[in-house]
Each structure stands twice: as structure tokens, then as C-alpha cells.
């Protein structure tokens, strides 16, 4: 006996939600700090944190994070 149509839809939506949740979990675990620059020409460049430019970008970003402070509550 075939499943009811709404059951198929629910299963499909649940499947997508599970996939998305798994993706976000993997992203949180696997993601490393990075510095990425984009240019008007469409070019983009990654700067590793062990490079001079990358280290400078991380220091500059750290100062801005300090200025911004914590997220306001509410």
C-alpha cells in the first residue's frame, strides 16, 4: 500500500532538515579561521594565518572584534 501523499512530503522535508543540520554541525567542527579578500574585478584571495599579510589581517580583525564587544542582549 503506497504511503499517504502528505507522509511523503513530510519525510522529504525532514530529510532536507537533517541534511542541513548535519552540514552545519560539520561546518562548526571543521571550519578553521581564515582571511579572504574580494576585489572589484571578481578576484578573491585567501591569506593563511601563518603568512605576514594573513597575520596582520587577523590582528586588525581582532581589534575590531574587541571594539564591537559582545552581542547586545534582547
Amino acid at each position: 500500500m503506497p504511503p499517504k501523499p502528505h507522509r511523503v512530503l513530510l519525510d522529504r522535508v525532514s530529510g532536507y532538515a537533517d541534511e542541513a543540520a548535519a552540514y552545519m554541525r560539520r561546518r562548526r567542527i571543521a571550519r578553521r579561521p581564515f582571511a579572504r579578500l574580494y576585489y572589484a574585478t571578481g578576484r578573491s584571495a585567501d591569506h593563511a594565518d601563518d603568512s605576514t599579510s594573513g597575520a596582520e589581517l587577523f590582528v586588525a580583525a581582532g581589534r575590531l572584534i574587541e571594539v564591537a564587544g559582545k552581542r547586545p542582549k534582547g
Binding site: 571550519r31 579561521p33 582571511a35 589581517l57 572584534i65 571594539v67 564587544g69
Partner: protein, 142 residues
């Protein structure tokens, strides 16, 4: 007959419409409003600033001097790193994420929680800068 009446009324309506030049908004106020709007759109936002073409702070969440100095350092480092002016900067650290975007002579700098969606942040930042640039060119300081 109806068309004549409608035409007469329509002329009347347009006669009373406010002219763009009469609804001037100070650039600083518009920037503050844009920043507040960015905060509403971006739930991950911790703080942000909008700078003019000279690097002066138009609006910022917190200490204006610190935002001006630190944003200038970030942009200077970014420009030096690539040998040309960077249009967008995205630095993701363990403590949070930093975004900077240049558009129409203005710069927006934002700090968010970790894992904020970069494409959405840049879209929102570009959107407020576009509106702000439009406001400045039409009604702001003229």
C-alpha cells in the same frame, strides 16, 4: 467626464506631493538609521560602523574613534595584502567574524558572531550602503 475628473484630481494629488529636496535627511542621521536597519536584519551582528570616503565615522555602535582607527588599519592591511584596493574583506576568527565592504565611496564594517552567513552579511551591507549613497546624493547634503 470621469476621465476629466480623474485628470483634475490627479493633478491635484501631484501638486501636493512633497518634493525630494524638501525632505532632507542629514547624512549622520541617515547613517544611524542604516546601521539600526542592519542590526534588525542581521541577528548575528555584534557591532558595526559606516565610514565616509575620507574614513570618518558617519555612524558606529560604540566608540567612534576606535572604530575609525581599527577600520582604517584593517582596510590598509587588506589593500596592501593584495596590491590593489579590496572591495570586500572577510576575516573569520575563533572570537567572531569581521566583514568590511566598500561601495559608492562609503565603507561598512561589521562584526558578527561566528558562522554568520557571509553572503547575507555582504548583501545586507551593500544594500544599506547603496541606499545611503542614494540618500546622500539626492536629499542629504546635496
Amino acid at each position: 467626464m470621469i476621465q476629466e475628473a480623474r485628470a483634475r484630481d490627479t493633478v491635484g494629488i501631484f501638486t501636493y506631493m512633497a518634493d525630494a529636496a524638501t525632505t532632507e535627511v542629514a547624512p549622520g542621521d541617515a547613517a544611524e538609521a542604516a546601521l539600526a536597519f542592519l542590526g534588525e536584519m542581521s541577528l548575528d551582528l555584534r557591532g558595526a560602523a559606516i565610514l565616509d570616503s575620507g574614513g570618518a565615522v558617519m555612524a558606529a555602535a560604540g566608540d567612534h574613534d576606535r572604530w575609525r582607527e581599527d577600520a582604517a588599519v584593517l582596510l590598509e592591511v587588506a589593500d596592501r595584502a593584495g596590491g590593489e584596493p579590496a572591495e570586500q574583506v572577510h576575516v573569520a576568527t575563533e572570537q567572531g567574524e569581521v566583514f568590511a565592504l566598500r561601495h559608492a565611496g562609503l565603507t561598512a564594517v561589521a562584526v558578527t558572531e561566528r558562522f554568520a552567513l557571509a553572503s547575507l552579511m555582504f548583501f545586507d551591507m551593500r544594500s544599506i550602503l547603496r541606499d545611503l549613497a542614494l540618500t546622500n546624493s539626492t536629499g542629504g547634503e546635496g
